[in-house]
Symmetry: C2
Subunit: 301 residues, 2 copies
């Protein structure tokens, strides 16, 4: 699981800071999460191929989280895309994108499939044999969802030495990976435990931005490996935080602690502070394993 | 008159090339022309104060000419703007901006005044005591206007030495600048010609992008000091140019020559070419005074 931070600063794009956008690589999927202005340029810097993105998740319809989407869609068209593109976001996103394309007489050559969200309860919005994606309803000034990405338990790993010793034919490998015992030539049954190792523990990633402090999300994200939680402000600006429905570094850390996550990544910083290290210092008074998002940074998990 | 090129490349924003946007400083006005994605970041680099911009002119509704506008408007709001902002552009621009602001529940605190354009004839769309702005109807895949910015003849310049010699009171200066003769204490009439110099020749700037070769614009832009004309392609790609309703460097130069403009600035380059110098070379086979726009470049006239 790999997370690329394309942008992680609050409000308006500046020369050196970009609004929210991330790419999550998980089990060969490349998921784009939020798409502030400038996302496509940031994406180019990662060297991730645009064609690998098939699913875009938009948390809410504030400009700093989706004003890069119309341009990105236009670019997919210029790049000759033909594959379906799935877009998950609040109701209204379809109307906005459709209107902008219509005004420019710029229809896409590929199907744009909108999955508009309205529920205030968590929903499973994507599932295949490898991963699931659920919404995490958040508390912001407009309708907002975070997203919980979970790997499914993978198949068992073949113990190459053991299957070699028993001279098991390759045609049985998939059955073994699926957990079956195997009967060999002499009629002896070899237990699956002898032929395989446990699959790696499935990983999970929770993206929570933008939101006020919302302890209600803790049960859903309990034990998540990695939590990205916004921390627009420090505790000293708690009054602003409450007013604008954002969170402080302290509040983000409290969520991380209570949910017993593995790692907390902070982001969505207001640019009023001298250094983003201040966010880490504040959060670490409550929760130890804190990392700071920054534009262009990559995290491997 | 000063022109700042914020972006001058065709199609999609890339790491080192920005879509169309320019700032024209003319008689203390700061006019923004087109607003591709990333314009606000490019604008910050110029050190021009955002608050000095009161008029934005949008040529057409292709993304590379206006997808930066919603974000710029949001930023004006964050910067605490209260002054009116005037936006001139094709019909539909109001609906698009209004919808995007509505979806984010992000109303501006300042009046947004839309001047929607539908006419296929040139129109005077702005006038004050110092400048006029007219549309230049162009020929592109969607409804598109260029813009012709003209200084008005300014007031006459005071000849400080002469008014000093005649001991003329400062209260008469404005009348003198307006062209009046003056009667001094002894009853003698001093002709205005003796007290003033001619005002500087009014300057003019024509912005023509995007457009196919359109000789019909020549009478309107005849004698313009500076013409920015798109040259998406070289003559070797004339077939693409015709198909997409863009112009070649040769065609831009032909317009410049026929219109007897002072300077031709080329821009809106396709990124398929090795060097933008090729555009200049091609244009100069037809018209000598060619300059190349480039992102971040400033022209003083």
């Amino acid at each position: 699981m790999k997370l690329h931070i394309l942008g992680c600063y609050a409000a308006t794009p500046r020369t050196l800071t970009n609004p929210t956008s991330q790419v999550l690589e998980i089990r060969n999927h490349v998921f784009l999460i939020d798409c502030g202005e400038g996302t496509q340029v940031q994406l180019r810097k990662t060297k991730i191929k645009f064609s690998r993105i098939n699913h875009i998740f938009i948390s809410h319809l504030h400009g700093d989280h989706f004003f890069g989407l119309p341009g990105l869609i236009s670019t997919f068209r210029l790049l000759g895309r033909v594959k379906e593109m799935h877009i998950y976001g609040p109701k209204g996103i379809k109307e906005a994108i459709t209107l902008l394309l219509k005004l420019g007489d710029s229809w896409t050559n590929f199907p744009l499939v909108f999955h508009e969200l309205v529920s205030k309860e968590s929903q499973l919005i994507y599932e295949d044999e490898k991963v699931t994606v659920e919404t995490i309803p958040l508390n912001h000034r407009v309708y907002t969802n975070g997203f919980l990405f979970k790997e499914k338990l993978g198949e068992r790993k073949l113990n190459i030495e053991a299957v070699g010793n028993y001279k098991i034919d390759k045609s049985s490998y998939q059955n073994i990976k699926n957990g079956r015992d195997i009967t060999i030539a002499n009629g002896k049954v070899i237990s699956n435990a002898e032929l395989t190792f446990d699959p790696p523990k499935p990983k999970s990633y929770a993206f929570c931005s933008d939101t006020a402090y919302k302890p209600g999300i803790i049960p859903q994200i309990k034990g998540t490996d990695v939590l990205y939680h916004e921390s627009t402000f420090l505790d000293s600006e708690k009054h602003l935080s409450a007013k604008t429905k954002h969170a402080t570094a302290k509040e983000a850390a409290t969520i991380a602690k209570e949910a017993k996550v593995g790692t907390l990544i902070l982001g969505h910083y207001s640019t009023r502070y001298k250094s983003i290290e201040l966010f880490k210092e504040e959060a670490q008074t409550i929760f130890e394993n804190v990392k700071l998002a920054d534009d262009g940074k990559e995290f491997d998990f």
